[in-house]
Symmetry: D4
Subunit: 254 residues, 8 copies
């Protein structure tokens, strides 16, 4: 509970500025005003570099255009995930600086380019089929104020490929690694770097890959201690948490 | 590949200090000397605050004493996990400043107390049965140079408990949350803070908990975007990765 | 076996009103007449407020219209679940007071508005995607004579939302809680109220949600003792059982 | 938030009884005092007939005796589940009216015998091996102020057994049904009664019973709409929720 | 190995009717001629009442017509399963006595009406949705020379329905029971009869029915000892094995 | 309902032999007297050759001796499964003709040797480790009045072994086949014979055998249409159902 | 690391042909040139008989044509898997000797017909539905320079079929066996031959086949010690590894 | 069928050496004499270098000694797996050249040291805990006449370790790779070599490793095409099949 606000209500009550009913009402509202991150007002969230995100699947084009129009008024950075190029066309009619990202199937408006990270985020894939998920992670990280380096198609069956890029990996503050099939790449990357690795299992594979389940289990059992895991195909989540790891951080003032 | 080392070999070769066979041999060895974190010499690892860790299960007491004696010569901080008090007794005979941590069933030698973190790591459990796993995470984080705040038994069925500690949570740089049964606490904590949450599913539960599988699935499907997950009961891994998130970081010099 | 009926047959037999063959036949029929709820005649069921329900999927529009026409003759309240608006159009041609409920994709005729509940049933969802299932539960409960309060989109990642409605929850006789993904909301609600919570896992989610399986496991492992669970997406069942919990009850006369 | 308490703090502040710091402190504490059921003070919980429950597994005999001694001071009804007869012997040394229930392996102190239910709770098992779980449910329900009728070993392969008891079942306000193996009995009971059925899958079985998983799935897929399910072997939970269904209920005063 | 054939080859060899090469060749062929049922010539199989069966899915209409035309030349009874009415139209153009069975989606030619069974086969379903699978079993059994009695929609939630037909069930030589969802009906029928029950789990259900897996597990764990199980939706297999149970049997002459 | 009994009660009532209360009572009891097999009186069951069976696991030796003593008074054939040799010693003290079957760990009293089968039952195993389960099936079949031929260790990796015994298999009325690991033998036997095959998956195996689950799935997916399946390790059930298949059968008189 | 190349760089450096920067650069590149098989230049791979393979699914026709045109310039043998006849038409427009393989849905260019195998590879299927997968294996093996013998539809329910071909199987250097449903055929073939068997589970089946999972488990649990397994439907992988087993082999020169 | 044997029987019959009954008998026996590998006489198997193997678990020491004594009379190489040192002591009393292999818990008699391989077999482990399984594979391969090179503890989190041994790996004819946890090492080794890789998942791990299931799935989904898989912990099988791959091979003479 915000002590300053609490005390100012008490004082306003003592001074007669608020009557008892009003003071009680204000105090009840105060109750939830400091609970946290999820409920913070939009203005503050966007000042901190959190973009507004719309999950596009299952919404009509008109709905998406309407929502985006509304969001861009209060937030500089807005993304629409799981959408299509036709929707982008309609969004661009009203928001001319919207960008279309084909591989991630994602619309992005990015007006706040502030660099909020202490270092670079490496985004790595095992195969070319993993790129859409990884690209969603990369675009999210950029929208949250990070510099991103992409490294595609360096899976473990050709181990020299990831090794030849190890100096880039070793300069990063955090690595995101997307892999399907056996999901082994995060362990290899984890062994090459001394920073956190956020692993994304992808649903790439067939037969006993069980829709990404094999990759998920592989990553959870990683022998590298610096690997953590997000849900299958959850590019957005990986980009989000990697951004929180990378960001210049200061404890909130009391 | 370490450019400086490479060039100094070339020069030594040109100067005749190394003959062709010697230079070739040195170059071949150089090949793997820079691959990374996993292979770095112990001295450097301990300078960076990485403790030496022994997995105690399946080793005899004599073996553990021998290994620990050897490790403490080169590393200030050493841990033995999954061990027992009898083993600790024998370790303390030779290493008098070893500590026994009953709940985590863990021996720790901690001589390097350097603070390497930018903030505090919160370690949280849903129930009292989750404490051994969480304590393993907390002790690991301390051994890696972090300040830790523990918050036990604040599960979601009594939601006021975690809420009453939200200001502590909101001051942390990263939160570790251990929960068994339905594994819901990381989502609640994730909604309260704007930093990464490292979730540990524990094997606490019975029936359809499937040895922690239910908690694991719950955490992977968290509706809070700042949650990542490690393996069931993997306290060490969670403490390790949270330490990497919290540490004062600078990109390695080329 | 209904003793009164049994004895009246015996008397009619002794009086000669029934011959031996007729008495035997009546006694055989009597055999199943008291077995119970499932077999009770329609008139009695509808007097008790049980609606007639048609599962619409896999039936033609003509079939549904025919069935509904037949049912409304004997029951005041009739529902068609898993149907579409086109079917509704044809139903309304013949039953002009039929209602279309878009979100639940459900047709309802509701002529008996008797209040049969001792209190209110709260119907709660974690996210907006869970609303169709929850709405099916709510409409069922209403058709069975209950007052319903709806509370949408109060999932655990923004815990203040459900907390701000706790006084409504605490006034309810029973709560229905629908959630997908990690399925954690029923535990939180269970901790806030001292009445039964009927949890509905929904198939909302992707990857390791396994079609609602993760939410199902989460709810079965709830640390709140007042939570019970129905099948994935089973809004009708949850509404049905919550209605039985809420109803004014008297033991049947012998 | 308790409006009466809020206003009385405000008045005490205005009257000078509390200074600003004290009023602020009181208001902060008030914050969590009304959140709900889980946190209510013990005195009130026991006035409502909620027993104190100790999970005995993993605790020493001395610990259990200590906890029980402490609990009986403030609550008339106390239970220890998952314990053994030796522990009971030590508990009885200090609490002479403690009861030992061999089948459920449960210690119970029951001093408050108030009848809090509107009707009877039927507790039913498919086989004799299911009795320990069912008995835990029955003893819980009794400790919460309910009349219980037990019906053992009426599984579906001898369907006449449950049918011959249907009038008892039909007089109950709620039925608890425990079954292992194929878990079919709740569906049959559900078809015989028009009240809620709380189904408990038990871990009885072998081979493809998968530790109760087969019974659990059977119950979740029940074709009877009045069946809800708790976790495998969760007798306590089933007794708890059935007690909440059966209890004389009035909405809380605002 | 057929001793008569073996000896006649030896004699033909001794008599010079066969030279050494010819005798050796004949003996090699003889090798596999008696291995069994699967390889028996078609004429003998159809004399025994085994129909020719074509799995229609994945075959073109022209292919099916061609195969059926060929089969009817040597077998009096032929079935095409998993097909459609359009294919039936083309089959009937050439085989005018072909029958179309809409519910089972099955074409049948049935010219041999010999009764080969010792009794009646009861075919039972829990719900109306299980009928297509059960009907496939019934039609198979008829094609193999059995009298079949059908009993639809007698699931366990309305237990009086199956009970009212128990005398028919008790007169049968074998019962086939198809059920989806919780798959409990075979246990109930198994308890009513003293003959084998062949249980067919069907894929009817949703959510935690896992495509018939819940019903399958329920049936495998049946508490009735006379229940055996076939694969999910395997109506043909159940009809086949029930026919073998019912058939008038004599050990083959040596 | 037994018509004869019903009418004789009616006549006794009319004649005054029974008063109304007595007639009503008799009629109520009659209600369940014809429901079936499970409830038939013991005398009749043993006249039909159904043995009394005691599941020994979890019972004390004294309990087993007591139960067996009681059962042998009314039934000529009695079995105790899942027991040990020490128990057998105590049983033999009081029932001197009891037999001990080491491999199946089963006590059997067999006084009724009537042959009730139309043919022989073949009992087959893939490996020597499957013999305990198969022997339980064989001993059950014998106790139910069948001639049994045993064929051990003829698994598919040495296919000549089962082939060399095919004439024995082809003379049998029904075959029981027990196999662990991949569970392939029932398919091979199914292809060799034209009678039903009752397949028992055993829990023999390791790793990906998942406690018999792999064998179970293999048998359910058998490409031989005459294969049905019982639960993992369920030797008793397989012997029971095979006995029902083999028995000389006549429809019950009405 | 290629010693010859290393020394020639050193010499060129000493001779002044390379300056220090150039030598360092060359040495760095050399770093990855010898890591192995995956990275070897295309010319060498095709000299060894490894074909170029394109996974066709998800690529446009134009893309496939472009890729194939490029590949055939440097490799004599090229395959496109998971494609269709329309794509083949466009490929053939530019590469007139391309072949279309309908069953495997595979385009193949095969210009290098060198025989690289020591013996024959047998490719075997249990059923006709397994042929597409097996044919992909066979075509791959041919493209890698092997003689292949195909044996279709010899599943275990008609065991004489595979037995009658055992002499062919026994002459092979390695056998590939594709089977769905229970997946038993590899065990039988494994028992007939003394060479490696590469087992391919196929997704053929329904119900409890779980998309090939049952066959996969069966093969992993094979009682034949010479069986190894690849992923479900992985015809290409099986053909590839069988080719490596069969090929004339010599250790690489140092 | 062995043509030579067949013809010699025919000739002996014609010459009168065999009468008709004798010839028929011989021909019947001949029937199974050529079916294959599994049934070949022991003398021939040991001439081919196949060792006799005893699975020790579940056998008494006396039984094992007896079996081994019998086997060494006809086979030069004999192994006992899954046994203990005490058993070894008793075996050595009678077979003085028996060897004890502590890590694999395996007794081996190895008198035939013939080299039957074309190259070397590499046996590789990811961790030290995988060594027992790998050692069983290595000892099997040696007993079958192969040279073996062992490479322990080169898991993917320290990728430089396996890379530094790649020249050894690249000289091998076949590699066996044992790994638990995520099971990624076979993919990396598969990418380094151009020979077959036989992957053994081990049950090393905890939590979501599911007893080796995660490693198994990882290996089945390997992105390296030269990887095949055996059952979890199946060291013997991997050693056996690798020996068959490596052996000098010639097609059997007809």
């Amino acid at each position: 509970m915000d002590s300053g606000a609490l005390e100012s209500i008490l004082r306003a009550f003592r001074s007669g500025e608020l009557d008892e009913r009003q003071a009680a009402e204000r105090l009840k509202n105060l109750h939830f005003e400091d609970i946290g991150f999820a409920r913070v007002d939009h203005a503050r969230a966007s000042r901190q570099g959190f973009p507004e995100v719309v999950f596009g699947a299952g919404k009509t084009r008109a709905e998406i255009v309407g929502i985006v129009e509304s969001l861009v008024r209060r937030a500089p950075n807005v993304m629409v995930t799981h959408t299509d190029e036709g929707t982008f066309g309609e969004v661009r009619n009203v928001i001319t600086d919207a960008e279309w990202h084909e591989r991630a199937r994602l619309i992005r408006v990015r007006r706040d380019l502030t660099d909020r990270g202490v270092g670079v985020i490496a985004v790595v894939t095992a195969g070319t089929s993993d790129i859409p998920v990884a690209e969603e992670a990369a675009l999210t990280a950029e929208a949250m104020g990070n510099r991103v380096e992409r490294l595609w198609d360096v899976g473990v069956a050709g181990i020299h490929r990831v090794l030849s890029e190890r100096s880039m990996l070793q300069r990063s503050r955090v690595a995101i690694v997307a892999a399907g099939m056996e999901g082994a790449l995060p362990s290899v990357v984890g062994g090459l770097v001394s920073v956190p690795v956020v692993a994304i299992p992808t649903s790439i594979g067939y037969g006993a890959s069980f829709g990404g389940g094999a990759a998920l289990l592989g990553m959870l059992n990683s022998c590298a201690s610096n690997v953590t895991v997000v849900n299958i195909d959850n590019g957005f989540g990986a980009g989000f948490v990697a951004s929180l790891i990378n960001r210049k951080w200061q404890p909130p003032a009391d």
